[in-house]
Symmetry: C3
Amino acid sequence: MNGIVTLLTDFGTQDSYVAEMKGRLLSLGGSPTLVDITHDIAPGDVPAAAWVLSRAWRTFPPDTVHLVVVDPGVGTARRALAVRAGGHAFVGPDNGVLETALALPDAAAVALATPPGAAATFHGRDVFAPAAAALASATGRTPRGVPVADPVRLTLPAVRRAGAMVSGEVVHVDRFGTLITNIPGDLLETGATVRVGAVSLPMRATFADVPPGRPVAFVGSAGTVEIAVRGGRADERLGLQRGAAVRAAAGDNA
Amino acid sequence: MNGIVTLLTDFGTQDSYVAEMKGRLLSLGGSPTLVDITHDIAPGDVPAAAWVLSRAWRTFPPDTVHLVVVDPGVGTARRALAVRAGGHAFVGPDNGVLETALALPDAAAVALATPPGAAATFHGRDVFAPAAAALASATGRTPRGVPVADPVRLTLPAVRRAGAMVSGEVVHVDRFGTLITNIPGDLLETGATVRVGAVSLPMRATFADVPPGRPVAFVGSAGTVEIAVRGGRADERLGLQRGAAVRAAAGDNA
Amino acid sequence: MNGIVTLLTDFGTQDSYVAEMKGRLLSLGGSPTLVDITHDIAPGDVPAAAWVLSRAWRTFPPDTVHLVVVDPGVGTARRALAVRAGGHAFVGPDNGVLETALALPDAAAVALATPPGAAATFHGRDVFAPAAAALASATGRTPRGVPVADPVRLTLPAVRRAGAMVSGEVVHVDRFGTLITNIPGDLLETGATVRVGAVSLPMRATFADVPPGRPVAFVGSAGTVEIAVRGGRADERLGLQRGAAVRAAAGDNA
């Protein structure tokens, strides 16, 4: 492993929880390099965490360990997972938050044992952090634990294609109010038009291709269709949020 | 020392203040490893900072340096302290924010000299950061300075025991709206009932032991009684905040 | 170089953008030490980012690389710059955000090439981060690129002196509501009075020199005049914000 451990939680930054996890990680040897992905996931928003993880993990070097704790079911009998997939390692609850890893063809998951004395309500500190520390200091092997053949999978919003028409939905609204969809840009025909809410927008190369204040569709940095308003917020301007339906088609058939 | 310096302030994250402290820490040699505990303490909220520090510091490895700057009295004649206690080192203002260290039997405090040219309003950068850098690169010795026999102590909310009854209060409300009390779980009788505000709750192992939407009391990850609402916010549901009285007793005598 | 890369953006902390930049930085070798300056700049607020950078960069050791991405014009033909100045290196868009570096007499700027496959809307990850990684692992040389003789400069608010009178303005309001001006403290006469909005305030050494609840002017930690309310917020109390005019003069002539 390369010693890097990323952290992705819904713990916020005003409590001691993130620091307790980091303290534990640094106490278990190996001098890991800790990198925050985010701690600002809305409490219990598993799909949001899964989406942020899906974008971020590939940018890190091979053998990075990704520690994810977003778990509305903490304290239940939910399993704790370690997953090796795509040349990286992932640790988190068995609630679908690791979907991006589990969806890979080489994914291998194990259930982690709960160490004696672990707090029932803080597995992030007492179960997941020790597992991540062990993985980060190990040498690329699959984590120890009982193999899990049936991890909980997250049902991602569907992308459907019918002829030249592709339909999907808004899967994330970012800080700038940009609506990010799950429609891959490479599924679109040249000259495609995108319909979302009450508007119909031609695809452009970037939002700089329209005048300030105007909405625009383009293929964003995740490779999927995004809708933005140049110099404004598309979510407010169009009155849309996560889950809004989006259609794209050649010409004006969207 | 292990080279780790944690940072805990009320500076927020939108200004340059935290970065100026980190730049100074990194400029003074020793290549310290910097770990944020939090910068989101409400401005001047010394008890909140003391509480977060009390939870976080023990999770870090021995010889970690904890740099704490929450100081509504900055610019006054307040002393700057370095404390060695519990195998860790602490740097911060003499206003009680280091209570968790000062309460340890082996605590040794010194007053730090103010370097020439230090800004009267930014001791975090000009006094505390240099002291922390020196401690982090030193070899476990007590920091230099004039010994302080009478550091300002923080009066923590009392826990009182009368027979099977234990009374305390809510000392922190976390991001999830959970009410965290100062009542140690190991003071409770088996089958204890907790009374807070208008409700009376049996102790459970975890909040997963009640149906969604219901309030519940349990021993949390700090070892004290917590009150949560499964899938909701206990602070809003019960209309309570920091300082609310809490009683626990065997049976329904709370 | 010393391997330190600071990050200053308007990306916020809830999305994957900062993590994607960090992942890229860590994937390109050299094991850089990453330090956040802030990601909480208001979207597109170039002057605010330039101001925070101007305060923070000098506190870091020589040869630090400062990566700044605040760019309301992303997707346009805006150039990407690398600047070597003052013994540090800077990477960011050519929109004035690097003003503090460009204003130095030894500033040397080059335009960075856009790597093949770079996302038009995320140069932070695909252009600036790789440039910063290359600079951080290099040996103090000027970054590669086409020399730029006419970088976009930021027009900073003017400080004017007429006899004993110095006029300037509020350039930043910090987390505590303190009004930070651009008037250098060393331009003031002894016994100066500061006028801002409807109030006239004598200069003091620190805000601890007035009773709680009272406004006060002093030379702050950036070396310029600041106006604060002891134990309160000057911005709310005085009804002022960034851009408010400030005058300082000897006696009561302000």
